[in-house]
Amino acid sequence: MTMTDAMRASDLPAIRMTGVVKTFGAVVANRDAFLDVAAGEIHALVGENGAGKSTLMRVLAGMYAPDAGTVQVNGKDVTGWKTQDAIAAGVGMVHQHFMLVPTLTVAENVILGMEPRKGMQVDLHRAVIEVESLCKKCGLHVDAKAKVADLSVGEAQRVEILKALYRGAKILILDEPTAVLSPPEVRDLWTVLRALKADGGTVVLITHKLDEVIAISDTITVMRGGMTMSRFATEGTTPREIARAMVGRDVQLHLDTQGDADSWVAPVASAPSAAPVLRVTNLSVKSDRGARAVHDLIFEIRPGEILGIAGVEGNGQTELLEAIAGLRAMQSGRIELASHDVSSRSVHERADLGLSHIPEDRHRRGLILDYSIAENLILGRQHHFGSFGTLDAARIATHAAEQVQRFDIRPAMPSLPARALSGGNQQKIVIAREMGREFSVLLAAQPTRGVDVGAIEFIHAQLRAARDAGRGILLVSADLPEVLALSDRIAVMYGGRFVTVLPAAQCTAEQLGPYMTGAAV
């Protein structure tokens, strides 16, 4: 920590939290956590899943009262305040899981609770204008009249940020905001945050991604096991150093190996003569809003190949994967799995022909949160666990015990509901289910979204091992470094088409950027 930082922090910090303790029943989320955030800085709060970052921030935002410790905002003791007090004092929180009304429009969601009025009525026209001008000012692009239910995850995230800004937040807390954003969107967000900072605002950013921490933050606080482990000035620290503080040991970071692309090329990848495991021909798919989301797409994946799709979220990736998985009707085209035409086959039939699918949203699709780990481990495979329509409890239990051990799902209690697990371990349930069986094609959508560095390392290793074992993988990720690090070929998706397909060895983020934004179409 530099001298000036130390002085700034001690001289009326925007946020000072000391000795915060917060428990939920037997679970200790925060034990003696400290946080000092200087006014006008961008502060990164990093740590593995379950390190207590979100809890600490919820205490700050007034959602939880701490069991012990004090919270000061702008020098005033506000320990135990309520959400409304926090909003009134200009503390706004953007949550990892959206708190939006899906049936209302973007503008209606943003103004909810502080609607502009015309007489007795809500002035929706003015709301739309206000929200649109706020969008323009912040560089966050989203259609103010669109229904939230129809938005992509990335767009919904932007609405959440707009909501906080509309309420005049001066201290903005962002809980993993970039987990759902594409690189250009992330850059836009950084612009927003820097503008906010220049305007005298203070930002606390919860994140797992160390490149982001380096890119945007002034100061870093690392948490582990509910405690504050260390505090760094961003200048003069390295991702490796931060990762070590987070995990407590050295970690393999794909950031470090990005330039070293050769080491990721699998031997089988150079066997283009093998028959494709997945062939998509002239596929067109509509979005929920009825617009054409995927246009006449043609591609194939060969065994032992990872085809990565880079692109800003909302350019048809979701619809493409849902169509291949059998979850969305196709308008036209043909999908072949290992030379079987599966265009009109059911989800189960496709799964039985060797299709596995890691869906982009594990809380909506990938898991049934109130089902146990064991029950979740058979989702989509339930027809293989018992005869004559029954379920074989003993086989389900044996299967669960095996998978929990093999994929290191913690806690290793198959009867625990998936809801009780951390994000990383929840994702491991999905990975175990989809990759812990025979498959020839894997659709992997945002496989490491919202999981900690340790789990990312594990999931990447699983994907590489599957590729090396001759599986074909279609990878969609908003995390461009991830696409670059894992893929053999990279397709950039824009407006429902592949605008370019390149061998990964020749790609750089700078090169792909113009395609992703449509500038190079």
Partner: protein, 371 residues
Amino acid sequence: MSTEPATPPHVGIGLAGSFLPPLVALAIAAVVGDLLILSFGEAPSAVFRLLVEGTWGNAYGIGQVLYKTTTLVCTGLAFALAGRAGLFNVGAEGQLAAGGFGAAVVGMLLPAGTPALLAVPLCLLAAMLVGAGVGAVPGALRARFGASEVIVTIMLNFIVLAFLNWIVSSTLHVPETLHTPPIVAGMMPRFADGFAAFRGSAANFTIVFAVLAAVANWWYLFRTRSGYALRAVGLQPDAAEYGGVRVPRVLLVTMCLSGALAGLGGMNFVLGYKGYYEEGFAGGAGFLGIAVALVGRNHPFGILGAALLFATLSQGGLAVNAIVPKQLTDILTAVVILAVATAVPEVQKQLRAAAANVTAAFYRDARKGVS
């Protein structure tokens, strides 16, 4: 997190977990009951003694309680099964009446002297099929068009009941009455046939079918693939779809099964008690089934207990009518329902989901109207 939860959080709905809230609710109801009785100038102890003596104190009382329990188990199971799939079936009243009517018609059409071993299953099948048919309407509308089953089942109750009354009063009734001619085959044996002590009470062997239905329900929900799919649809329809479950199909099938369970309850009155279909025999048992399911927390075995409780209160009202108005026990029933609805998170969640379901349907319609 480095700290793992020391005790596993709440897993499913255990039987022990379903017992406590109704007991607390009962305690609250007892306090409210005391106050009400005192306000009538009577001694609570005397009234409660009368209530217990009139229900569990003699064979007749027990018989009446068991008779009422039977219908409530069926309608409670009907509501609970739908609830597990995220459906709010308010139509048990109509399904119950229709099931009873179906059983009565088959019982009348069969030749006299058909052996009970043939006639009873045929009537049972008729009751369940007709109930399923009534349940299929909201099920199909929901599965095909996304119409709120809450609204459709409420409306359909009026239609079904009015339609049955019209058939009965126009063509099937015995002159000067509101009921059909008696059935000639398929009558259920009564308890009184074997045990003289039950003489006069309506208790009959339909209760065996109701208990079997509860066991079958449990098995279906927790031990079969369809039950796994059904509960998945209720918890997270998108995840169920991802898991290869055809969600609209599950919604339709569940509403049919729910209707069939309610229809089964119609046998109790028609085959077990009167021997004919009579206008208004359902008498609110379809709606009370909602409360039974909520208090029984949608668990088949919890529902058996809850049905016994509500049947006891209902019969107890008649027993205490001599010294306090029988509406006293109606109030106690209401207090139990309110206490459970307030105290149990799952019940709150289910009620909120139903409200959201209706709101969403109205919202959709409003949108269509505008555009």
